[in-house]
């Protein structure tokens, strides 16, 4: 993350810096901070450390150059020395970043990215009889054979999983590891700023702490020494004893990731004063449930990742002691402070960290058309400072409402957020709508969280209809003849409320539901509709709905200009329409029309118009359904409502009586298995599809229908 890249993390692992001299280009500009320091004079060391302590060194993003896509780390195993207070130059076996050394303790930290191919090339300069490296946690066969002096050995693996790992000698480890042949391997998560991916491992600052210890008597004679007598006297962090250890420089309020690697032979119990440590991983396996501790034992050879929330109120210069609670905080003899001790040091003022979490991350409900679903969420401020939030909704077709803003919310605080989703009256059974609600920090608009809502309509619409008379329909009052209703087999609901969009002066006598929010409609008289001016009763307009139902809103546009295609007389008033899957328009007229290119057409017929529609319409007419072929005659059997997808559903302007079926103008009947065209044939279903009188519509006329 940006902040992490620029933030000071002061332990400034100087060995890393030197490592970078050869492992990676970016920090070539840091000479002179090399470790180990050749001089064993404390004064000189102290000043070198001082320089280090105030350096702005940061744990680099990566070490080791990319060589044709492979993260390639060359390491040289060799003898050397490090200077320890009061002990002079102590012999070690270490790893260097060049054949000329010097041997480092610990070895260079290898920092790679998750998923990268990694190649470590070990060159054995002078470690007898052989040296090999093992990489616990990586999928390669442990090398316990090694390579003799003068030889080199290559280790290839893919850094599959992020985390903090150790690498160390696998050959005579009882001697070689104790002599210093170890280091840290860091695999950076593919999610920047998160050690393991996931908010539990998010951090702004980080530090690597390689813990180890030295018994100078062992180092003086590693093969002759009786390890039963192993008694360490120097307790080190990154190869240094306090006061030479670098502090961990952080900003107040930041989350600092402590990457512990215990490369020593003994267990270290590391304690922090002034804040708890959150254990998020051990041996690079993320903890299913992080836990907080003051002091945690890091077993020999294991690693641990812990996150410390630096108190946001900590003043500049605040130092949180971080030390070995087995009290290995002295240098020989009895020099306190010393040993395995450093500090988390607040060197920057609190920098607000913003964060937000919306729970639950997903939600779903079901309800009846025309109803409203209410979703309740919790919005938590996961940042370290008070924050307000902007709420955005996206992706929805159904009317969805949410608060525009939330907060201010204190750090760690939680506020409720209610989101309402209205199911359109016309929503078909099982139809769904998905909306994404995104809550964005106003303090840092790169920080947001969202929840995905899926709403499902339940009730089964069996019929949409329009009527010739207004009034009360079922339990629905104030219905107008300009409205479109849905009927689910038991109740009516408002789909299109014409009075909301200024067509209440007209009677809507034809409609097609093009899609969830697009309706074609025709009216029984000329009138002014929206911004279209006067629309003739032989025309069809398109309504694009912003909302439907009791609060209908939207805009009208031209769909069909009857006069362009020969519908000019009153008899050619359109009183029933539908569209076929191929896009052509079906029209039934008020009277017996005279359509160009069609013969014998009457008001009980359905004429298809195939062409282009809109403000300018052109099409070719043909007979689609000849009513007279199937027992319909003009007049009271004038078809004024149709749905012609599959079986042909019809309603008439008056009573009808055909083979196998009879009824009134408020009924809908079905002509099944139709053969369409000039010679129409079909079989009438003996049962009415919709018996209007059974629903109190005896005095009314269904003047258009559609099936879902």
């Amino acid at each position: 993350m940006r902040k992490r890249m620029t933030q000071i993390t002061g332990w400034g692992t100087i060995l890393l810096v030197i490592a970078l001299l050869t492992l990676s280009a970016p920090v070539l500009a840091r000479p002179g901070l090399g470790q180990p320091v050749a001089s064993s004079a404390m004064a000189g060391r102290a000043s070198a450390r001082l320089a280090a302590a105030v350096s702005q060194a940061v744990l680099p993003t990566t070490t080791c150059p990319l060589v044709s896509g492979v993260r390639t780390c060359d390491l040289w195993a060799m003898t050397g020395t490090i200077a320890l207070p009061g002990a002079g130059a102590v012999p070690i076996w270490g790893l260097a970043t060049s054949a000329s050394g010097p041997a480092q303790l610990p070895g260079p930290a290898l920092i790679v990215n998750q998923g990268e191919a990694v190649q470590v090339i070990l060159h054995n300069v002078d470690i007898s009889p052989a040296v090999g490296l093992v990489f616990p946690g990586q999928s390669l066969f442990p090398d316990t054979e090694g390579v003799a002096p003068g030889g080199s050995q290559t280790y290839d693996f893919t850094a599959a999983n992020p985390g903090t790992y150790i690498y160390e000698s696998g050959t005579d480890p009882e001697i070689q590891v104790a002599m210093g042949l170890y280091g840290a391997l860091i695999v950076r998560s593919s999610t920047p700023g998160q050690a393991y991916g996931g908010s539990a491992s998010a951090y702004e600052d980080e530090a690597l702490l390689v813990l180890s210890e030295i018994d100078p008597n062992f180092n003086a004679d590693p093969t002759g020494f009786n390890r039963v007598n192993y008694a360490p006297k120097f307790w080190m962090i990154n190869g240094e004893v306090h006061p030479d250890t670098d502090t961990i420089q952080v900003a107040a309020g930041n989350r600092v990731l402590l990457r512990y690697v215990n490369a020593g032979l003994v267990h270290d119990t590391m304690s922090l004063l002034g804040a708890h440590q959150q254990v998020i991983a051990k041996d690079a396996y993320p903890a299913a449930f992080p836990y907080s501790v003051v002091a945690e034992t890091i077993a020999a050879g294991s690693t641990a990742d812990m996150i410390v929330n630096v108190p946001p109120t900590a003043s500049l210069g605040t130092r949180l002691p971080l030390y070995n609670r087995q009290e290995h905080v002295i240098n020989p003899v009895n020099q306190f402070p010393g040993g395995m001790l450093t500090f988390i040091e607040v060197t920057s003022p609190a920098q607000p960290v913003y964060g937000v979490a919306v729970t639950p991350p997903t939600a779903s409900q079901s309800g009846n058309p025309g109803g409203t679903l209410i979703y309740n969420f919790n919005v938590t401020n996961t940042g370290n400072t008070s924050d307000s939030y902007t709420v955005a909704i996206a992706g929805n077709a159904w009317t969805t409402t949410a608060p525009a803003t939330l907060g201010p919310v204190a750090s760690g605080g939680t506020v409720p957020m209610a989101v309402n989703v209205e199911i359109p009256a016309g929503a078909a059974n099982g139809s769904t709508d998905v909306v994404t609600v995104t809550v964005t920090s106003q303090g840092d608009n790169t920080k947001s969280d969202s929840s995905t809502i899926t709403s499902t309509a339940l009730s089964s619409i069996v019929l949409y209809l329009s009527l010739s008379e207004g009034g009360t329909v079922g339990s629905l009052t104030g219905v107008g003849d300009e409205d479109i209703l849905s009927f689910n087999g038991s109740a009516f609901a408002m789909l299109f409320d014409g009075s909301d969009v200024g067509v209440d002066a007209l009677d809507l006598d034809g409609f097609v539901l093009v899609d969830a929010d697009t309706i074609w409609m025709s009216f029984d008289n000329p009138g002014t509709i929206g911004s279209l001016g006067t629309v003739d009763d032989s025309d069809i307009v398109q309504f694009d709905a912003a909302t439907l139902g009791d609060n209908t809103a939207g805009a009208f546009s031209w769909a069909f200009d009857g006069s362009d295609v020969g519908l000019t007389t009153n008899a050619e008033d359109v009183d029933a329409i539908d569209r076929l899957p191929d896009g052509s328009l079906l029209v039934s007229t008020f009277g017996n029309p005279d359509i160009p290119g069609v013969a014998g057409e009457q008001d009980e017929d359905l004429l298809s118009c195939t062409g282009t529609f809109g403000a300018t319409t052109s099409c070719t007419w043909s007979m689609y359904f000849d009513g007279s072929d199937v027992g319909l005659s003009a007049g009271s059997e004038n078809v004024d409502a149709v749905d012609a997808n599959g079986s042909i559903y019809l309603s008439t302007t008056g009573n009808f009586s055909v083979t196998g079926a009879a009824g009134a103008d408020e009924d809908v009947f079905v002509c099944t298995a139709p053969t369409t065209g000039a010679n129409t044939a079909c079989t009438y279903s003996p049962t009415l599809f919709f018996d209007g009188s059974a629903w109190g519509l005896a005095a009314n006329d269904v003047d258009e229908i559609k099936l879902p």
Binding site: T269, G274, Y291, T297, P311, Q326, P332
Partner: protein, 413 residues
């Protein structure tokens, strides 16, 4: 003369005097005073002091510790009990010949006034210096307090104590969670540490000593070595070791004894100690003053029969003992025949055994065997399983240990 020889002489003398002097007088305390003993705040006046503690083998050891205001020397320092949300102030007066400070692991936002800057925190100067520490007890739990000045030396010398923060849910809860309710009459604090008597002698005589060469001979709970750990609080023969460590419970019963005992562990020593209770598993519910619960309140507590308590760590544990088989001489006898007791050995002729294998029953013991059993209660040791720590010097059945006493339901008459 080597301490070992000294010890043997002392010990044999004590055996004799024990017989001659103390046999007639049975323990007099009618109601045993056991369990956590609080010093309440939220303002505390502590003073460093030096003094001597006694070990069961008759040794006496020079210690440094914290005492309560004008009180007398005690080890460990007073158990500071406060309530969550209290503003705690600890005023320290240092009577020791070198600077001393106090750090409060697990507390944040500790402010200091007075004193002079030290490596870890503000220090009270030698021989009369003072310093004050203040913080808000924001989170309940069990915490250590200890010297932050040369702790390698001073904490080993005894400058440590425990801070208990009671949750806002009430004193019968360990934390603000219903699952942490316990029986308030069954709250026990066990603070572990070690002692190298030669190091303490060197400090007493102001001689040099290499702290890298520490070699402990004694191990303590609440400043006492077993069997002194099972004596009451404030017994007269341990004037500077006021805190007992006996753990006493009665069998779990859903109706009459539903709530567990709360055991608070704290390791003030520099070694990790593997602590093993006989009797039953313990459930670890908290670490270092933080309840073991997941982000969605998942229960991440766990049970074990040995807990290695890391240096500087605290644990809160819930404990129940259940009479699973409910053996009784009447209806439900054990399915084996116990050999004649005279054919078995009662170590050193003394025992906690009742003579009967059944809880709440007693039976004859062989002639000459002294029993400390009251009413057929059970006793189990609770000890370090680094068994050399289960000794006083090299005397077995001593050191880092206490005893679990399980009374029959309702307790002894």
């Amino acid at each position: 003369m080597s301490p070992k020889i000294l010890r043997k002489i002392l010990l044999s003398l004590l055996v004799l005097t024990g017989l001659l002097i103390t046999s007639p007088s049975a323990p007099t305390r009618a109601v045993p005073s056991i369990g956590l003993q609080c010093t309440t705040g939220p303002t505390f006046n502590l003073a460093t002091d030096s003094g001597y503690i006694y070990t069961p083998d008759g040794n006496s050891i020079f210690m440094w510790s914290f005492r309560n205001g004008a009180g007398s020397f005690q080890l460990p320092g007073p158990v500071l009990c406060v309530n969550q949300g209290d503003s705690v102030t600890v005023n320290l007066t240092n009577t020791l010949p070198e600077p001393v400070s106090i750090v409060f692991p697990g507390q944040s936002g500790v402010t200091t006034s007075g004193g002079s800057p030290g490596p870890l925190t503000a220090e009270a100067a030698a021989s009369g210096g003072t310093v004050s520490y203040s913080f808000a007890a924001s989170q309940p739990g069990t915490y250590l307090y200890e010297s932050g000045s040369n702790p390698t030396k001073q904490v080993q010398m005894g400058l440590y104590g425990v801070l208990v923060v009671r949750p806002s849910m009430g004193a019968n809860f360990a934390y603000n969670h219903a699952s942490t309710q316990f029986n308030p009459s069954r709250e026990f604090l066990l603070v572990l540490s070690e002692i190298d008597p030669l190091f303490h002698r060197a400090v007493e005589l102001n001689q040099s000593y290499d702290l890298n060469a520490l070699n402990d001979d004694y191990w303590t709970i609440n400043g006492r070595a077993f069997p002194d750990t099972v004596s009451d609080n404030d017994v007269s023969w341990l004037p500077s070791q006021p805190y007992g460590a006996l753990v006493k419970v009665e069998p779990y019963d859903a109706n009459t004894n539903p709530f567990p005992a709360l055991i608070r562990y704290a390791n003030a020593g520099i070694f990790n100690h593997p602590f093993h209770p006989h009797g039953n598993h313990l459930r670890v519910i908290a670490r270092d003053g933080r309840l073991l619960r997941g982000p969605a309140d998942e229960d991440i507590s766990y049970e074990d029969f040995t807990r290695t308590i890391g240096s500087g760590q605290t644990y809160d544990l819930l404990f129940k003992w259940t009479d699973v088989e409910a053996w009784s001489s009447g209806g439900n006898p054990i399915p084996v025949t116990i050999p004649g007791l005279q054919n078995l050995v009662f170590k050193d002729g003394v025992t906690f055994y009742s003579g009967s294998p059944y809880l709440g029953e007693q039976d004859e013991l062989p002639v000459g065997v002294t029993s400390y059993n009251e009413c057929g209660e059970f006793y189990f040791p609770w000890h370090s399983h680094a068994l050399f720590e289960f000794t006083n010097f090299d005397e077995g059945f001593g050191g880092l240990a206490t005893i679990l006493r399980v009374d029959p339901p309702g307790g002894c008459p």
